[in-house]
């Protein structure tokens, strides 16, 4: 009963948040005066996804989840790494260039490229970490600036050293022996679930173990809860800042790798930008919890993938799902606070009842 209650409380806040988001979205659709009703919107969004969309949802979930973990590592210790976007852009480009050059054969090439992606992501995040620890520069500011620098740098390098064709420029295509497409659950044309999506599973488990089973994880959470208390108990906060930035950046470096080795095979127009920001929203939605963020990642991937059908079946712009996503993130913060207060009140009441009950027995 008690565990049941606990799970119920844990689910309550996200459920409230999603309901509020659905309500807000419906109101926006009504207010926009479109020809389609909110009911049309939800019947498209909540319809059973087609096979290929199901595959897309799973693939997108893995990348969004990686991005969310990257953001959460920083968030858990009170560090706002807004720079996941820049870290994975630069890491993806570098890894794609390295992998495309095919200096190493087959699977070794894949492995080496993943290591390079993590290293580049870590270094880019590390710059913000060093600025913070040595100069006291806020990581929010520095990572945002590093995002712009990464975007410009990648654009320049791609232009200088990429392969130009038609109106496009891209890195050298990945050799077939290093491609890791994945498992085809339906027909070939519906696409494959990328093997490297398993990186998300590995990173998720790793994050959980790190947080809950290691000294470092304890220090991380302690610093996040109270930096002064952490210093008092002998935690080297500066070292923690740097290490968590590096870890955050390393995970960020992996974000696009499932797509690269799974279907893109080159860095060009197929690169998916914006995942770094999606990850921040999902980390907030999942309360930086390894399990909670799975829920958030699935929700975001699901909404985005389903929204494509909106234009064909209704008069509603696919951008409307961004309202659902945004409101869910805002509402979850409020919902958690409300649920927490409600729970405390419940506990207080049950304690009070437990105390008055024996007293009445004595009186009787």
């Amino acid at each position: 009963m008690n565990t049941l209650k606990r799970i119920g409380f844990a689910l309550l806040a996200p459920v409230i948040a999603v309901l509020i988001a659905m309500l807000a979205t419906s109101i926006v659709i009504l207010a926009s005066g479109s020809d389609s009703s909110a009911g049309d919107f939800w019947s498209v969004i909540l319809a059973k996804p087609e096979n290929r969309i199901m595959v897309n949802i799973i693939n997108q979930t893995s990348m969004i989840y990686l991005s969310a973990v990257a953001a959460a590592i920083g968030f858990r210790m009170g560090l706002f790494n807004i720079g996941v976007e820049g870290q994975y852009t630069l890491a993806s480009y570098t890894a794609a260039t390295f992998a495309g050059a095919a200096l190493l054969p087959g699977a070794i090439n894949v492995f080496a490229s993943l290591v390079i992606a993590m290293a580049v992501g870590a270094i880019w995040a590390g710059i913000a970490g060093i600025l913070r620890t040595t100069r006291g520069v806020s990581e929010v500011i520095s990572t945002i600036m590093l995002n712009s620098i990464a975007a410009i740098l990648v654009g320049y390098l791609l232009d200088q050293y990429g392969e130009h064709g038609g109106n496009q420029v891209r890195t050298k295509a990945l050799h077939a022996s290093s491609q890791v497409p994945g498992w085809v659950p339906f027909e070939d044309r519906d696409g494959a679930i990328w093997t490297l999506g398993l990186l998300a599973v590995a990173v998720g488990i790793g994050f959980w173990v790190l947080l809950n089973k290691t000294r470092f994880g304890f220090d991380l959470r302690a610093t996040g809860l109270s930096q002064t208390a952490a210093v008092a108990s002998g935690i080297k906060v500066n070292r923690m800042v740097l290490v968590s930035m590096l870890l955050s950046g390393a995970v960020a470096g992996l974000i696009w790798m499932p797509a690269y080795f799974g279907s893109a095979y080159t860095y060009g127009t197929t690169f998916q930008a914006g995942l770094g920001f999606t990850g921040i929203a999902v980390a907030l939605l999942g309360r930086n919890q390894p399990v909670g963020m799975i829920f958030g990642a699935v929700l975001f991937a699901f909404l985005s993938a389903q929204s494509n059908s909106l234009v064909f079946q209704t008069d509603i712009s696919p951008s409307v799902v961004q309202i659902t996503q945004g409101v869910a993130v805002l509402a979850v913060v409020i919902a958690y606070e409300l649920v927490r207060r409600y729970r405390i009140r419940l506990e207080q009441r049950s304690v009070a009842r437990a105390r008055t009950a024996p007293a009445q027995e004595v009186a009787a």
Binding site: Q60, G155, T269, F312
Partner: protein, 365 residues
Amino acid sequence: MRRTTKFAAVVAASLMALTACGSDSDGGSDGGSASGGSSTDASADVCKTADGSGPKIGLAYDVGGRGDQSFNDSAYAGVAKAVEDFDATCLEGEAQDGEAESAREDRLRQMADAGATAVIGVGFAYSDAVNAVAPDYPDVAFGVVDGYDPDDKANDNVAYFSFAANESSFLVGVAAAETTKSKQVGFVGGVHNDLIKSFEAGYTAGVHAVDPSIKVDIAYIEESDLSGFGDPAGGKTAAAGEFDKGADVVYHASGASGSGVFDAAVEAGDGNWAIGVDSDQYLTATADQQPHILTSALKRVDVASYDFIKSVNDGSPNTGYVTYDLKNDGVGYSTSGGFLDSIQSDIDGYADKIKSGDIKVPTAP
């Protein structure tokens, strides 16, 4: 500390939400404020009302979408004409900023699944997606505006429309050079990619063909992010910077960001000009913008789309590379507003030299 974090989280989240809304409402208000009216009015969308028995056309827009008064609207105009002429019907879809490659593919597949016999991807970003999807639908004819076949396996049901935008840019460069009083002109590109660089190259060559001493300021809104084609605020900042530095004519090749460039010209005051792109943008500009729109470099995406649908309707769809240049009126310049009346003969003189091959217009700066 905890509370600050929480507060910061809320602020960050609401900022994200607001920026998302911001960019959307930009698109919306641009569409609404057009005095030209009918062509950008969503309720006048022929794809919502057409119910003919002719070919079914799928039209997948790039970032910016319908209402950009430029590139995407031009494709729509071609489809609208085809709907009328061939009793066709159409389906529309629009790219979202930062969407997955799989979303682009899914959009094309949904159109083909819904029975479209001609599917047009508007913009080079659809090249890979069309290349991936086309083999699965051998009975559907695909077309990509500014497209390029990314691999060696040629698809026999795909047409790639390529435009000699450097030639039209050359001509508006001539117009800019003959109009400028400060001997300084500007260029604003949406994204610093090879496509837009060919606009820059042609424009600069046109300016310098008239007077090599004229200075050309170059600015790009984004280095590689395609959001540069849907960012009026970014376009305005870039253009205002060039007007401030002394330029008095600014040419933009930045899709829906161009409305910001026009606003910058209005704020720079009388005697400052902007040059539109792709569509005749004088026709869709607001009343205060119109006196500042010198001309537009036309890229007849409408002609290409129309021709393609015609070929599908005739039963022998175009395939492979289809080039549109000055010779076949696939590119050109507009004269609405009458600001070019005194120099039009000069510009046409250069156009003839390009057509005859006497002038070779560069494609890269």
